[in-house]
């Protein structure tokens, strides 16, 4: 099988805080295959952002890696020195942020921002850098880029700024583009445009995309594979088709039920998942979702369930993305036993 662009293996990360050790990520494994779009869904605080900052080697200084690896093109990002990391960031991995209003330096013009980001290419003249920047702006759909490139970020609308941020991320032709909720700060029509743009980019730049969102509809529309995260763990992963048609984990099922777009009957009471995300300092002894799970039964409170393939077979700690797997006693062989 072809080596995935990004492979996260059994990654656990703790943060040291005054309240104690926060176990932000626990034994997370996922892979982003070449030329695929992988979506990560989960509530706020489930470890999505920790995961992507770890993948970029931008972990906050109070974070420590307990176990695992983050292999980018076969090399462990977590063991790289700062110069090695910088050689990868922006060159091989790029990132698009949530809020385009704050992710562009307000005092530099787009031309300055985009030329500066090409600083590694000393052989390019200023004109050459500018020409490339204009070309990239044209590709992300900025009208009249020759004129607009000399404008400042505040002279663009939110959607246009996000396009500029995407253009900046693509300037160096990365093999992995990480998009951290790139449409959350935009309104719905722009959201659709940006998703469309990401699809186009995926086609023309041959970049894999790791798309983080809490919007299930977007994930279904854009992604090939989905990873569902809950309280710092991967609870289920699989292809979009598997996950949306045959959700195996009770959390995924509950998430899908709560998606307003999927509710058939008009109601004022939107369904919710009762309870709240567990305290990541003091974790429940069994399954992390057990306190909120409607289907919890005896084994759930005793020990954390293993990750098992939904179709049956032996438990697996390193699920392959193409394989539909979930971390629950109700799934696979366990389900049969119960």
């Amino acid at each position: 099988m072809e080596q995935p662009v990004l492979a996260i293996r059994d990654l656990s990360i703790d943060f040291t805080t005054p309240r104690g050790q926060v176990h932000a990520l626990r034994h997370v494994s996922l892979s982003v295959p070449r030329n695929k779009i992988v979506g990560i869904v989960g509530e706020s605080g489930c470890g999505k952002s920790t995961l992507i900052s770890a993948a970029l080697g931008l972990l906050a200084s109070n974070g420590t890696v307990r176990t695992g690896q983050a292999l980018f093109e076969g090399r462990d990002v977590l063991k790289m020195t700062e110069p090695e990391l910088r050689a990868i960031r922006g060159e091989r991995i790029s990132m698009v942020f949530q809020d385009p209003m704050t992710s562009l330096n307000p005092v530099l013009s787009v031309s300055q921002l985009m030329s500066d980001i090409q600083y590694r290419h000393r052989e390019r003249s200023a004109d050459e850098k500018r020409r490339r920047a204009i070309e990239m702006l044209r590709q992300v759909g900025i009208p009249d880029p020759e004129e607009r490139i000399d404008h400042y970020p505040f002279q663009f609308s939110g959607g246009m700024r996000q396009r500029i941020a995407i253009a900046m991320a693509l300037l160096t032709n990365p093999s992995l583009l990480i998009a951290d909720e790139p449409t959350t700060a935009l309104d719905v029509t722009l959201e659709a445009q940006i998703i469309h743009l990401l699809r186009e980019i995926h086609g023309s730049f041959e970049a894999s995309i790791l798309f983080v969102s809490h919007n299930l509809g977007l994930i279904a529309e854009l992604c090939d594979d989905v990873v569902v995260m809950y309280a710092g763990e991967v609870v289920e992963q699989g292809t979009v088709r598997d996950l949306f048609h045959r959700p195996a984990h009770p959390y995924t099922q509950a998430l899908l039920e709560c998606d307003p777009a999927r509710i058939a009957k008009a109601t004022r009471d939107l369904p919710t998942i009762p309870g709240e995300v567990p305290n990541l300092v003091q974790l429940p002894p069994g399954c992390v979702f057990q306190p909120r799970c409607a289907k919890a039964f005896a084994p759930c409170t005793k020990a954390p369930p293993p990750t098992v393939p939904v179709e049956g077979g032996p438990p697996t700690d390193l699920p392959v993305a193409e394989r539909h797997a979930a971390r629950c006693y109700l799934v696979g062989n366990h389900g049969a036993a119960a």
């Binding site: 990868i88 942020f97 809020d99 704050t102 330096n105 307000p106 530099l108 980001i117 590694r120």
Partner: protein, 297 residues
């Protein structure tokens, strides 16, 4: 700006010079800015061309014309040694502006560098630098100057050194605070995720964000520095006689204030003009160079 051919076929209309540089246009239409610029230009030109303008050498003594009233021979009269006050004011301005520009330029550069290091660098460095800044700032200016002058002896270089040391913490603290608040900004994270290292983040992204407020502060500090220099010279701790300084002119005139008040006026008015000019200029520059305050063109 760009030399690209317009592919739409519509040749770009010749944009008037001023419209292409809206900053200059705005400056020209701002009365306070123009007043400030005029005052500053008058001071700078008068000081710069003092050699050509001054009718007498600043230390030339004419004993027969001691404490003369203003006349066509001596525009601002003469002092107790018969020196032409107008010439002394001009050369005093030369010293004052020289001191101001050297001090502010040097302390801005050092202050910005230290401030960005403290704001962006590791915590221990921040703590150490802040401790030093606070220690320096806690010295009363005059006492500090007295101590240094006592140790080193009064001279122009001593004054410059003292003022630089006094000015650095102010700039550094502002830059540090700005850097700290910028550091958590998403665009800094975005730049880092695109591969920018500490040097690039600081010079390309932090510096342009902090330099606007600093330029205005630097400009508004010119009168402060001029006043410190004048104050030290007034106390006899600064420029050595017979080199003229506004402070020593004031000091000379002070003894004769009842009979010949123009001596004090001649030393004081340039200080006022300098203060007003650089303050107005600084504020207008701030409005123009800070894009966050800039209106959409």
């Amino acid at each position: 700006m760009s030399a690209q051919p317009s592919d739409a076929g519509s040749a770009a209309p010749a944009v008037p010079f001023l419209q292409r540089f809206p900053g200059i246009a705005r400056f020209l239409t701002d009365p306070l800015g123009m007043l400030g610029l005029t005052l500053v230009l008058v001071m700078v030109l008068a000081a710069g061309f003092a050699d050509l303008i001054a009718p007498y050498a600043p230390s030339a003594i004419d004993v027969k014309a001691r404490l003369a009233s203003p006349s066509w021979d001596h525009l601002l009269g003469t002092d107790q040694l018969g020196r032409d006050v107008f010439s002394r004011v001009l050369f005093g301005g030369q010293i004052a502006l020289q001191v101001a520009f050297i001090c502010i330029g040097t302390s801005l550069v050092i202050g910005v560098a230290l401030g960005m290091l403290a704001g962006y660098g590791p915590r221990w460095l921040d703590n150490a630098l802040i401790l030093i800044f606070d220690a320096v700032r806690s010295f009363p200016t005059i006492m500090f100057a007295l101590a240094v002058v006592t140790l080193v002896g009064p001279s122009l270089e001593t004054i410059i050194l003292i003022i630089i040391v006094i000015q650095i913490p102010g700039y550094a603290r502002i830059v540090r605070t700005q850097t700290q608040s910028l550091k958590t900004n998403e665009f800094i994270l975005a730049e880092r995720s695109l591969g920018a290292g500490m040097g690039r983040v600081l010079t390309v992204h932090v510096l342009p964000n902090v330099i606007g407020p600093l330029l205005i502060l630097g400009s508004m500090d010119v009168p402060v520095v001029v006043t410190i220099e004048a104050g030290l010279s007034f106390l006899g701790l600064g420029v050595r006689p017979p080199t003229p300084s506004w402070g020593s002119i004031l000091n000379d005139g002070y003894a004769f204030i009842r009979n010949t008040p123009w001596l004090v006026v001649a030393g004081g008015v340039p200080l006022i003009i300098t203060t007003l000019g650089f303050t107005f200029l600084g504020e207008t520059l701030r409005d123009i160079f800070d894009p966050r305050l800039r209106k959409t063109t």
